[in-house]
């Protein structure tokens, strides 16, 4: 079955792809923290911050259509939150953007800030996962001190989420193939519970088999991998450029634009 893998461009080769996963992860983490910490009146600063991940995505050759499609896919939750802001805060406020000036409410400002922050942080996150192989990211996280057990769990999640989705699709298809009439809500609920139960039992069964496969290959509780991570000069240069970009906007552009 075909899946829309978010990391499908992570296997390409570019200058950005070759950067160390730890450096990219730290930059994205700091970038996200900075963007989130911006005040609600900072829509123009957000536009400046968006340039960073946007440039990385272009440099790495990630199609922007793919990027925006994935932002849209996860946007409904944020949209609900953002669009509810104008409903509960209608305090009037005047907004200036360059030579333009108009009146609006604090609720609408908050709505635009939430959407802006969401889009910019998602751009950075997609730039990270589209230019870093998940395995390198996991190794990087482990090297950065994330608990080993959590890294293993993340690895299994990434490996088996698609297998689980496939199984769920098959169960749903089998159900659809035999659904000849509309049932009452309670009956539908009962069937859905059975389907979930079946998926759960199959997952346990698969977990047992995976455990056998691991033990058969000598697994004794210690997770061993051949780490290929190495900080090079280009990684340090990227880190320096990212720091200059982020702090430059924060300390020099922010006082001018706000």
């Amino acid at each position: 079955m075909h899946h829309a893998h978010i990391d499908k461009f992570a296997y390409q080769d570019s200058l950005v792809h070759r950067l160390d996963s730890r450096v990219k992860f730290i930059v994205v983490l700091v970038f996200t923290a900075l963007v989130i910490s911006l005040p609600r009146t900072s829509v123009s600063i957000l536009a400046c911050y968006a340039v960073g991940p946007f440039a990385i995505l272009v440099l790495a050759g990630i199609p922007l259509r793919f990027v925006f499609k994935h932002i849209l896919l996860v946007s409904p939750f944020v949209l609900i939150l953002a669009l509810s802001c104008p409903l509960y805060d209608k305090t009037p406020v005047s907004v200036a953007f360059g030579p333009f000036l108009w009146n609006t409410s604090v609720g609408w400002m908050r709505c635009f800030t939430i959407l802006g922050k969401f889009t910019v942080t998602m751009l950075a996150l997609i730039a990270l996962v589209s230019t870093t192989r998940f395995n390198d990211l996991l190794t990087g996280l482990q090297r950065l001190g994330l608990p080993r057990l959590l890294v293993i769990q993340l690895g299994f999640l990434y490996r088996y989420i698609f297998v689980l989705i496939d199984r769920a699709h098959r169960i749903l298809r089998a159900r659809a193939g035999r659904r000849l009439r509309r049932l009452k809500f309670r009956a539908e609920l009962k069937i859905a519970a059975s389907m979930l139960g079946s998926l759960f039992i199959r997952s346990i069964d698969a977990a047992e088999h995976i455990n056998i496969a691991m033990q058969a290959r000598g697994f004794d509780g210690n997770w061993r991998t051949l780490s290929k991570l190495q900080i090079r000069r280009c990684d340090l240069f990227f880190l320096l450029a990212a720091v200059v970009f982020m702090l430059g906007i924060y300390f020099f552009l922010k006082p001018i634009l706000l």
Partner: protein, 244 residues
């Protein structure tokens, strides 16, 4: 000939009390390619698990001269590679390279040796270029080959394979036959596909209702149409056409 596997009066019951294997006595010579044939639910998979020490019953199981017990288990698992029915269970790491390297790393080999073993194993199964791929990006045939590579990298003396031809198209099945026939290891292949078994095996053991019914030369056993039909099996087309 030295014995790769010796099983004496082995019996096993499932936790609910159902008999899975009953009084199994089987001996496999080193270098043999044994097809473990039998209908669904005959106990083939359970017997393979017993050979790898995952099922503990009564009786004796010796792998390459070592009796299965707690002390020998680690050694046994470097000598006997066990390939499960579903490749998705066998391939659990984020990339194919890491999956194939998993066994050698647990054996305590040095990084360079591990890399060499991975390269050789992937080369043998024809996936040399795909080491960086994630398992969910592989086709069914590639997953099957990759699952075998995860075992080959440990260089075991014996390999057990549970329904290795499952969900493979004819081309991939033929490739698998070619690959398995070229392997120098002792092979134990559990299958319901008689043509597949006949194409690879030189020995065969018929298992039904948890018992060994017959153990003989593969061609001899599988050409006995009366015996095969009685146990829900069929004479392979290759043998059938050869007799015509």
């Amino acid at each position: 000939m030295p014995k790769a596997i010796e099983i004496e009066s082995f019996s096993y019951k499932y936790p609910d009390g159902t008999t899975a294997l009953s009084d199994i006595t089987l001996s496999v010579e080193a270098g043999a390619r044994l097809a473990l044939i039998g209908p669904n639910g005959a106990g083939k998979s359970t017997l393979l698990l017993a050979m790898a020490g995952f099922v503990k019953g009564t009786g004796k199981v010796l792998i390459d001269g070592l009796e299965i017990n707690k002390e020998n288990l680690k050694k046994i698992r470097t000598r006997l590679g066990c390939c499960l029915e579903n490749p998705d269970d066998q391939l659990f790491m984020p990339t194919l390279f890491d999956d194939v390297a998993f066994g050698p790393l647990n054996m305590g080999l040095e990084a360079e040796q591990v890399k060499q073993r991975v390269a050789e194993a992937l080369q043998t199964v024809g996936l040399a270029e795909l080491g960086d791929k994630a398992p969910h990006h592989l086709s069914a045939g590639q997953k099957r080959a990759a699952a075998i590579a995860t075992i080959l990298s440990m260089a075991p003396k014996i390999i057990t394979l549970d329904e290795p031809d499952g969900s493979l198209d004819p081309r991939n099945r033929n490739n698998l036959v070619k690959l398995l026939k070229d392997l120098p290891q002792t092979l134990i292949i559990a299958t319901c596909n008689m043509n597949f078994a006949a194409a690879i095996a030189n020995r065969a053991a018929l298992l039904d209702k948890g018992r060994i019914i017959a153990h003989d030369d593969a061609r001899e056993l599988m050409s006995n149409s009366e015996l095969m039909t009685e146990h829900g099996l069929e004479v392979p087309h290759t043998i059938w056409q050869g007799d015509m």
